[in-house]
């Protein structure tokens, strides 16, 4: 055994022309003495030899399935930051395994393997997967001849190699060496590369003029969605017959109304360049203040702090025009972890707070006291959102779940699980039937409230490069906007689940998004880079900069005046120098 390997290595060195190495090798191993039969005539391909060795060692179809699923499992359990990088590595493995199985004649097993694990890669490589089934040979040739390049950071790759070596997955190692080109790059260079790629893509799009989008839709996003007609989700007869003549009447009425509206406001279209922004700056609390909540009537301003207290101010507006007075703040204490989100209900009577101690509390604004404490989340709760009926509310937490609660139940009514990472934000659809969640796994999901199932998965190849941090629905409920850690904003069409447009101009993470009333195409975003931007599909964005105040929240009043808040950050002159 040993000798034959030695012999192979020597042969390999000689064919490649490494003379010194081969001499040294001969000298050190001195296998010449031990090998009586020295075959010089036969030219042996090392790789072929190794191949034959592997194939002989009983690589059954089960092995493929095993190694693939264990790799998948491992990736799902590693550090969240590197998860999607490693997932990109998993895709070529999956494809090659499938081809291997086919080549080896395990047709049924191959098909089973494909169908079982297809769902892992559908979101990013949906069209390619379709093509693999249709034009198998073409794609096999492509995959086998050209190396599939994957970009990886330094650390996750070493982790992966360690994992393979420890659990001895020869199959994975083999395909990795043979067919996959792994580019190991430090984080900074990856970002540079990503920028370059974006530029290139934009140029390509310009050249093509019309970007190609196929009619194929993810299996997830093929599910029907009702948006147009308002239905309460707790009504049993939620489904409406479209053939019903009465419904058509209603529809017609509705459409008439819409037309009237458009006519009326066409001349007075909201212009982002003429926006009026009322800004509330908080002082002496940067790095202590976590969240600020306003109500559009501006009667309350609430702030949640990292010392687990909440303060809210009541502003009295005097009708006789002598300005508004602000009362002393009311201090709410009860939580034992820092406050991450606040939400005032639409009647301005009560408030919900999400805290790092894993609880949500319901406060009465009139009494200034805690009413109920809701426990259920494991770990911190990041976000709360009220339904418009002020009875149900939804939370998102670090435990990768979003939950639906009712005010008079101490436990969650629904648990929405499916995200691969923590759920950062939750937003309730304007018609109360669905809720959207944004997660650190860079995806946005839409859930049906009635059965708790995911209805849509919003993810594309050139999607967000960071964690989702903010969500907003347009007022008619047709589009969903998501903002991410890296400053990118994407609008999604809810019906088809496809990307409508990507906006990238912010340099800090997006903290808040809000749509204006009556218009689907204009929305505002507040970011950590001290700017508010008002986006319009038809124009370039208009940005308004604050002095040195990151924007925590933006909100349009019914009159379309933009309210925005944030804590003032002291300018550190030492650092600037």
């Amino acid at each position: 055994m040993n000798n034959s390997i030695n012999w192979l290595v020597f042969n390999y060195l000689q064919t490649k022309g490494y003379k010194r190495a081969s001499e040294n090798f001969l000298h050190e191993s001195d296998f010449m003495n031990n090998v009586p039969k020295f075959r010089t005539n036969r030219d042996v391909n090392v790789i072929e030899y190794l191949h034959s060795r592997n194939t002989t060692s009983k690589n059954s179809a089960e092995d493929y399935q095993k190694s693939y699923s264990s790799a998948h499992l491992w990736i799902m359990e590693t550090l969240e930051i590197y998860r999607d990088e490693l997932f990109e590595l998993l895709y070529p493995l999956f494809v090659h395994f499938y081809f291997d199985l086919k080549v080896k004649g395990f047709n049924e097993e191959a098909n089973n393997f494909f169908e079982n694990n297809k769902s892992h890669h559908e979101a990013l490589h949906f069209e390619e997967l379709n093509l693999i089934k249709k034009k198998e040979e073409e794609i096999r040739e492509k995959f086998r001849t050209e190396k599939y390049t994957v970009e990886l950071s330094d650390y996750p790759f070493t982790m992966f190699i360690n994992f393979i070596q420890q659990s001895n997955f020869v199959l994975i190692l083999k395909t990795l060496n043979q067919f996959i080109n792994v580019l190991i790059l430090p984080v900074k260079e990856r970002k540079k590369l990503a920028k370059r790629r974006e530029k290139r893509e934009q140029e390509q799009k310009k050249q093509e003029l019309t970007s190609f989008e196929s009619d194929n839709v993810l299996s997830y996003n093929q599910q029907g969605i009702q948006i147009g007609i308002e239905t309460s989700f707790y009504a049993e007869e939620a489904e409406i017959n479209e053939n019903d003549p009465e419904n058509e009447k209603e529809k017609n009425q509705f459409s008439d109304l819409v037309v009237l509206d458009v006519d009326e406001f066409e001349n007075l279209r909201y212009q982002p360049r003429k926006a009026s922004i009322a800004f509330y700056t908080f002082f002496h609390c940067y790095e202590k203040l976590n969240t600020i909540e306003l109500n559009p009537e501006l009667t309350y301003i609430a702030a949640g702090f990292s010392d687990s207290t909440i303060k809210y101010w009541k502003t009295n507006y005097k009708e006789n025009g002598s300005g508004n007075s602000i009362e002393k703040p009311v201090l709410l204490s009860g939580h034992s972890g820092s406050i991450y989100s606040l939400k005032i209900n639409s009647k301005n009577t009560s408030m919900l707070s999400a805290s790092g101690d894993g609880t949500v509390r319901h406060w009465s604004l009139d009494l200034g006291k805690s009413l109920v404490c809701y426990k259920g989340h494991y770990g911190a709760v990041w976000d709360v959102d009220f339904f418009t009926d002020n009875y149900y509310f939804a939370t998102a937490g670090i435990d990768k779940t979003a939950r639906l609660w009712a005010l008079d139940y101490s436990h969650a009514i629904r648990i929405f699980a499916g995200h691969y990472s923590e759920v950062n934000c939750v937003k309730i659809h304007t018609k109360n039937q669905y809720l959207a969640t944004g997660s650190s796994d860079k995806t946005v999901r839409l859930w049906d409230i009635r059965d708790g199932k995911a209805v849509r998965l919003f993810k594309t190849q050139d999607g967000h490069d960071g964690f989702i941090t903010a969500l907003a629905f347009s007022h008619n409920g047709n589009t969903l906007t998501s903002g991410a850690n890296d400053g990118s904003i994407i609008t999604w069409d809810i019906r088809t689940g496809k990307k409508r447009k990507k906006f990238k101009d912010h340099s800090g993470s997006i903290n808040s998004l809000d749509y204006i009333k009556r218009n689907e195409e204009v929305f505002a975003s507040g970011s950590n880079d001290n700017t508010i931007k008002i986006w319009d599909y038809q124009e370039s964005p208009k940005s308004y900069q604050t002095k040195n105040t990151p924007i925590y929240r933006v909100m349009f009043t019914p009159e379309n005046i933009l309210l925005a808040t944030g804590p003032y950050k002291k300018i550190d002159f030492k650092k600037q120098k």
Partner: protein, 678 residues
């Protein structure tokens, strides 16, 4: 690798493990690295949701808590801890931690109480423009080099300007010749053109004669003043009326508009090309000349056929035409023309809502005069009709069969018509009263109309001059001014010089008394009250009240003494301004005034009207004196100290002058005693 095997070994030393194999250390370091990464990853989640950019110790602690590990307890320092190199070893570092003694920590003075969290609001943007206030980011300052470049550009422009201005003058003359050739219908236009011509000539004169340096200096000054004005105006919009909810209320009930935008926009435009300036001045450039000629011709053709145009040209005083904002804009444009040598043109663009608001207010304020006119017309019509009837009735005797039938029918018909008209009038009046009330209320409360204030002031000033004779109209105008003065969010400092003269004319003018039926006394009293309100509101200008009172006293006594009616106004004003002014200014002159009035009253030859005026004045004087007299006597009884040490007359002297008429104002012993007994 995060940690080298050496550091793992070092850490092992601290725990007491002295012999670690290299492989074990490597294994451990990779594991430690993984744990550290996991911890940092989770800690970053907390920083992210606290919306910070800095990872703190607390985040690490909460990440440890999340994994069910013990938190790291200890004294949390504000400064970031420093790693220091061990002397003699290049790879070994340690945390520079001081050891505190517990007593020191306990006995240390308490740290300063942290500052209270507070917030304040401001306008980050108004209609897309960021006001230049302290709360908004500052704009870039102009460097010296840039300034030099700008100056050079200006010089060039000036030269071009002078040349082109000459050319335009000649063109202008051509146009004028064309215009003058055609009839009277164009009279107004011609006048305007002539004015323009004169102005352009003046400005050209200035430009040619003054040395360029001086012009430049002046320009710079003007620019600066404009800029400061702009900044002030923007501050006004941003600071005074920061109340987003107020914006809701500013929308008139009639004008329900879905969008926002109430305050006006101010843009500062530096005209860089001569053509722009010309277009602002309504002077055509050479290219536009042909078009303009055609236009003029078309207008000439149209004018005789168009009755509306004729009406405009003949009736200058038509209030509704004047009220339109266009006229205000024209005035502004005229102003701009006056300052032709300025390069800076301030364009004050009002939003649609504000324009609507302005139109509404002016329409309603001015309808009082219209109503009056209609009423008068109705009365006159009735009179005329009665005369006609009488004529017909006298003549009917000669033509009985024909005329009688006709007169009766007309009479009946006319009566009905007249009654109907009266009804409509009444309804109109009531409606108008309601509208006026709403408008005045809004003017006194609305904070969104700051942009309109200059227009309103100008409107009031011009209308007081026009509606000199119509007291009721003047009263409504005064009501409007009062509302503006009472509005807490409007500051009128810059407009007082425009506003006070018009109020003073209302209080003091002679010609108000033309129509006997109208109660101009009431109007004077009303104006006096407004002046008092202004004086109290703008108390911080020390020169304001003395200026006003000096005018009043001059009207009351001395060489330039004015007629009785305006004297009455002056007395009322002084009374309204308070006890101190009465004491200081009215008391010294009281004998002179009283003798004057009594002279007129006692003279038999005087006209009845004048006598009535004198009696009025006397009663006003007594009222004014009585006011301070009561106070004085009251304090004399209640305490020993005197309120007015410098009271110019004794009570006994006043008794001598006025007799018993002031007795009701004197705080009597009896009254005092009864009070004390009770």
């Amino acid at each position: 690798m995060f940690l080298s095997t050496d550091s793992i070994k070092n850490i092992g030393h601290t725990v007491g493990v002295y012999s670690l194999k290299e492989t074990v250390a490597a294994e451990l370091s990779s594991d430690v690295e993984y744990r550290l990464r996991e911890l940092i990853q989770d800690a970053l989640k907390f920083t992210k949701h606290s919306r910070r950019t800095r990872l703190t110790q607390e985040d690490i602690n909460s990440a440890l808590d999340l994994h069910g590990k013990y938190k790291i307890l200890g004294h949390v320092k504000k400064e970031t801890p420093k790693f220091q190199r061990v002397i003699g070893d290049q790879e070994l570092f340690y945390l520079d931690e001081k050891i505190f003694e517990l007593e020191e920590v306990i006995n240390a003075p308490l740290p300063l109480y942290p500052r209270n969290v507070s917030f304040s609001g401001h306008w980050l943007a108004v209609d897309g423009i960021q006001p230049r206030t302290l709360s908004n980011p500052q704009f870039q300052k102009v460097t010296k080099k840039q300034k030099k470049q700008q100056d050079q550009q200006q010089l060039k422009l000036e030269e071009e300007e002078t040349q082109q201005a000459k050319e335009t003058e000649s063109i202008q003359e051509n146009v004028n010749e064309n215009a003058t050739g055609n009839g009277n219908g164009n009279g107004n236009r011609n006048q305007e053109d002539k004015q323009q011509e004169q102005k352009t000539k003046q400005s050209n004169y200035l430009l040619e004669d003054l040395p360029l340096k001086r012009i430049r200096r002046r320009r710079r000054k003007q620019q600066e003043s404009c800029e400061t004005n702009q900044i002030e105006l923007e501050e006004a919009t941003s600071t005074q009326q920061f109340d987003p909810r107020a914006r809701k209320n500013t929308l008139l009930s009639d004008v329900n508009l879905g969008t926002s935008t109430i305050t006006a926009k101010i843009t500062l435009k530096r005209e860089d090309g001569i053509n722009n300036i010309l277009s602002n001045l309504n002077i055509p450039s050479q290219l536009d000349l042909k078009l303009l000629k055609q236009k003029v011709q078309i207008e000439e053709q149209q004018q005789p056929n168009d009755p509306k145009n004729k009406g405009n040209s003949t009736k200058e005083k038509n209030p509704r035409d004047d009220s339109k904002l266009k006229s205000v804009h024209e005035e502004e444009q005229n102003l701009v023309k006056m300052e032709k040598e300025k390069e800076v043109v301030i364009r004050h663009v009002l939003t649609q809502e504000l324009q609507l608001y302005y139109d509404q207010v002016i329409k309603i304020v001015l309808t009082t005069s219209e109503n009056e006119k209609l009423e008068k017309d109705l009365i006159e019509m009735e009179k005329g009709r009665e005369q006609e009837n009488s004529y017909f009735s006298t003549s009917s005797s000669s033509f009985p069969s024909f005329a009688s039938s006709s007169t009766t029918t007309t009479n009946q018909f006319g009566n009905k018509q007249w009654e109907n008209k009266l009804k409509i009038m009444k309804e109109k009046k009531e409606y108008h009263q309601k509208c006026l009330q709403i408008i005045l209320n809004d003017l006194s409360q609305n904070s969104g109309i700051i942009q309109l204030v200059p227009y309103f002031i100008q409107f009031i000033a011009s209308k007081v001059r026009i509606y000199f004779n119509q007291i009721s109209q003047l009263i409504t105008l005064m009501k409007a001014t009062e509302a503006l003065v009472m509005n807490p969010s409007i500051k009128l400092e810059r407009y007082l010089h425009q506003l006070i003269p018009s109020i003073m004319t209302c209080a003091l003018s002679v010609d108000l008394e033309r129509d006997v039926n109208e109660d101009h006394w009431e109007m004077r009293e009303y104006a006096a009250q407004i002046i008092a309100k202004i004086c109290s509101k703008y108390r911080r200008f020390p020169a304001l009240q003395p200026n006003i009172t000096s005018v009043l006293v001059a009207a009351l006594v001395g060489k330039n003494k004015r007629p009785l009616a305006s004297q009455y106004g002056a007395i009322v004003c002084l009374q309204a301004l308070g006890k101190n002014t009465i004491n200081m200014l009215l008391l010294p002159n009281i004998e002179e005034l009283l003798s004057q009035f009594e002279k007129i009253i006692n003279q038999d030859k005087q006209k009845q009207q004048k006598k009535i005026h004198a009696i009025r004045c006397k009663t006003a004087l007594i009222n004014a004196i009585g006011n301070i007299l009561f106070d004085q006597t009251f304090t004399q009884f209640s305490s020993e100290s005197k309120p007015f040490n410098s009271l110019h007359l004794n009570v006994s002297n006043l008794y001598d002058l006025f007799g018993n008429r002031i007795s009701p104002f004197v705080y009597s012993d009896k009254y005092y005693h009864t009070q004390s007994l009770l």
